[in-house]
């Protein structure tokens, strides 16, 4: 098979040279300039988890205020900031970034690549995301946090009704996080399409990776809608346009269409990776390939499509024409089918597998309970007449927390326990993990289940107080107890993580005997991810690969060489040299942030800050050496792979 015209390099990878090539500079410089997807993802994960804790604190304060009627703990001004900041934070600064962070870490490993595509853009996205976090939380701490609800309906968010900077802060925070989210989405899509290990054709892509691809495509299509909406809002407020100004020919409902065209897909953007995590963990602990791989993947993809056709079900109470409402009712019910199919496939997988129950799996069992309830109440909300009763009440608050915490937070905790050994090289404590789960699960249901009843019995959402004779007191009191349990669960998780970092048992490369590629390298992985880039012969390569499975040779160890493969069947295409650590993403992010922050005070900020932005982007794209062309010819022109003289070490048979 070999072409005699091309001399193939020998199978000899030098770990030391690879380490030298891929390692970051030591110390602070390395921390700032890194383009290693694992370091960036860790940063994202830690920040997002901090946002989760902060958002949880706000939620606890709200429950405290509502634990008894006519409570004077907080006034309406602060309470409105509390729920707006909580919702905004959890949707934009926790849920989407944390799932993307897992993707940044795991997708390159799962597809067997040495780094994520466009690593500088991913580094840039983190700094912008951090800017978004500060953009929300600093104003909140200065008592100028947004106070018009996380979906910021117009005309309430217009200058006339929100004359302070609060709505501007909200709108530009959206811009920060959406730019960051889009950058990551593009990087993940390209990583999956072009950087897969040879042999990983489309029908062998791990389900978690499929979930991230669907999420990323949804982000690419949904987020421009909210950026458009928030930009129009900012223009209304700063530049006297009248997009949403009813008195001057604007339209109050236009905002809702634009916002929910993003806002509904956002729900799927958040929980599709969650269900993909469930598929991964269910597969590993069932000790078999997932049942109905094609059905599960098609469910993810079709959810991604249908998710764009239901935004109007947030607007049933606005009084739309009945025919339109019926269409969106039907679409909202259709979306239950792919999710149902996934449930059935998981149960079939467990049914026919040899289930081994462990800490990550326990969280997945919690997911089944919680997310199922959230899905069923979702079908109820799709029913227009019933929705008109429970819309904008605590019933919806209950539903959305069952969907989002059930669909994402439970799988995320499961994922932390599952991938923690890979991230840190240490195991977590199983007993503590189960205790943490029990507290969180009991607390969650105690907090959120009574909200269904509160909504049916007339309690609207977003009220800072309620009359003593409303009959809502007991349930609101009970919910505070639930909050205490959830808090305890999270504290136990932190204790577990902390003690594992300090003195956890060392983890092997593949502690769960899982089948995907991230387990084929050391725990934690080296900077270059894989000593020998692998090829795959099945959906679970560590289970399916024969002992003599070929590896990839011909990548240089002295430069950051990465293999690019074809989209459909992942045949080798060419090599590309990946960027070195660089300061420019940070500098570009700083200029971008100055532009975004400045523009809420004066439109001229856009002009002034364009200068440093231009300079930093020029630095970013300046060619590093004369020979840099971006791509080089792959030495194996006819795209066959040489057989290694011996199978790579450290691989499970």
């Amino acid at each position: 098979m070999r072409d005699p015209d091309h001399e193939l390099p020998p199978v000899r990878e030098d770990p030391e040279q690879l380490e030298q090539t891929w390692a970051d500079p030591p110390g602070l410089v390395g921390w700032i300039t890194t383009v290693d997807h694992k370091r960036i993802a860790t940063r994202y994960l830690v920040t997002a988890f901090a946002m989760f804790l902060l958002g949880g604190v706000l939620a606890s304060l709200m429950r405290l205020q509502l634990s008894r009627p006519e409570n004077t703990l907080f006034g309406p001004d602060f309470y409105n900031q509390l729920f707006t900041t909580h919702g905004t934070n959890m949707m934009f600064l926790f849920a989407v970034p944390v799932t993307q962070a897992l993707g940044i870490y795991l997708v390159p490993l799962m597809v067997g690549s040495r780094n994520i595509a466009f690593p500088r853009m991913v580094a840039y996205s983190y700094w912008l995301y951090l800017g978004g976090c500060l953009m929300l939380w600093i104003p909140f701490l200065l008592n100028t946090g947004p106070d018009m609800g996380w979906f910021s309906y117009t005309p309430l968010a217009e200058l006339l009704y929100t004359p302070t900077k609060r709505a501007d802060v909200w709108a530009q925070m959206i811009t920060f996080t959406e730019v960051a989210g889009l950058a990551v989405a593009v990087a993940i899509v390209v990583t999956v399409l072009k950087l897969r290990a040879p042999g990983m054709s489309l029908n062998r892509i791990p389900i978690f990776v499929w979930g991230m691809v669907v999420q990323s495509f949804m982000i690419i299509f949904a987020m421009p809608a909210v950026m458009l909406a928030s930009t129009c809002l900012i223009l209304d407020r700063l530049a006297n346009t009248h997009f949403f100004d009813v008195d001057r020919g604007g339209d109050a409902l236009l905002w809702q269409h634009l916002f929910w065209f993003f806002g509904h897909p956002e729900v799927y953007i958040i929980f599709i990776p969650g269900t993909a995590m469930v598929s991964t963990i269910v597969t590993t602990f069932s000790r078999r390939h997932i049942f109905g791989y094609l059905a599960v993947v098609m469910s993810l993809v079709s959810t991604g499509f249908i998710g764009f056709g239901l935004w109007v079900h947030h607007m049933f109470a606005t009084g739309l024409p009945k025919l339109g409402e019926s269409f969106f009712t039907a679409a909202s019910m259709v979306v239950a089918i792919p999710t149902g199919i996934q449930f059935f496939c998981w149960i079939a997988t467990l049914w026919s597998g040899r289930v081994k129950i462990s800490t990550p799996f326990v969280w997945i069992l919690g997911f089944f309970w919680v997310f199922l309830i959230g899905g069923l109440t979702g079908v109820m909300l799709a029913s227009v007449p019933l929705d008109l009763q429970v819309h904008d009440t605590y019933f919806v608050v209950a539903h959305l927390h069952y969907v989002l915490i059930g669909g994402t937070v439970f799988p995320l905790f499961g994922s932390f326990y599952y991938w923690w050994p890979k991230f840190t090289g240490r195991m977590m404590n199983a007993a503590l993990g189960v205790a943490s789960f029990l507290c969180f699960f009991v607390g969650f249901n105690l907090t959120f289940f009574p909200m269904h009843l509160l909504g049916l019995h007339g309690m609207p959402r977003r009220v800072y107080t309620y009359p003593p004779d409303a009959g809502w007191t007991t349930m609101n009191g009970l919910e505070l107890v639930g909050v205490a349990f959830m808090t305890l669960g999270v504290i136990l998780f932190i204790v577990d993580a902390w003690s594992s970092l300090r003195a956890g048992v060392a983890a092997s490369d593949d502690p769960w005997q899982a089948g995907t590629l991230e387990w084929a390298t050391s725990s934690p992985p080296p900077a270059y991810n894989f000593l020998h880039p692998l090829t795959v012969a099945g959906r679970e390569p560590l289970w399916d690969n024969p002992p003599d499975q070929p590896i990839v040779v011909g990548l240089r160890s002295d430069v950051r060489d990465v293999l690019v493969t074809h989209v459909m069947d992942a045949e080798p295409d060419h090599r590309v040299e990946f960027p070195e650590p660089t300061k420019w993403p940070l500098l570009t992010a700083l200029s971008t942030s100055a532009l975004f922050v400045g523009s809420i005070f004066t439109a001229w900020a856009v002009v002034y800050c364009a200068v440093p932005l231009f300079v930093s982007m020029t630095g970013w794209f300046w060619p590093k050496h004369p020979g840099e062309t971006g791509t080089q010819a792959w030495p194996i022109a006819h795209r066959t792979l040489p057989m290694p003289s011996e199978p790579p070490s450290g691989r499970a048979a």
Partner: protein, 313 residues
Amino acid sequence: MTVAAAFLQSALDPAGPQAAHIARLWWLLFWISAGVFVLVLAFLAAALRHRGAQTSERRLTFGVSLATTVTVVVLFIILGVTMWTERVNATLGASSAVTIELTGHQFWWEVQYDAANPSDRVTTANEMHIPVGRPVVLKVTSRDVIHSFWAPNLQGKRDLIPGYTTAIWLQADRPQTFRAQCAEFCGRQHAHMAMEVVAEPEAQYEQWLAARKAPAREPTDAGAMRGREVFLTRQCVLCHRIRGTLAAGLVGPDLTHVASRGTLAAGTLPNTTGHLAGWVVNPQALKPGSQMPDNEMTSEELQSLLAYLETLK
């Protein structure tokens, strides 16, 4: 429904045909969902207990296909019932309907009864009287931000959107004072934007409506006359209207018959002299963020003003 009776307002204690249809729909969906929940978790538990035993992929495929088919069938049933409920709730279609125009403001409700003769139109605020057993069509809109009218015992909610006027039907089948509340977040005092919907027998309703058509009574005693002077010479007059006087403000609620209402400040306080005094002087303490400013006045002025307002039955 004894449980529901313990609540000030509840969708599960229907008092009209539409709320009753929706409550029935709720119970149907509740039992279907409960069944699905138990069934799925039972299969999950069985799957976990089944560990290791071999099942052919064919049987698994059959099981998953069957479950998917059942899901689709159940969804179609729900869709059908939904469509039916939507259809019967859309309109009550009687020619004898009462037409009421409801306008939302931060943070109160303006209520206008439609009449063939414009001079017979009745304007009131934060309280709506409706005849039992007769359909009512509400034409709703807003003067500022989006609000939502929700009387859970009677009907689902409808948003009040500036620039749009939409119609929603409701009907009360028993005499009772129902509570309605704003359900779309509308600003700082969203929590205190409620109203009373008083359903009463036809005769009583007609009597009430006729009384509302009359302008405010002329005060007879000196205290009340002094109170009217206070009202007309201070800032009150800039926002409020009292028909029969020069006060013609349209920013705040119409006060022509304020003393006959059950509550003050859109369901925030019971309408008693003490609460009224507190509300007139210090509304920002009772409802911080409301559009009504605090009013400084001497005790004599306040007492006369209260005496006058108490006469506005």
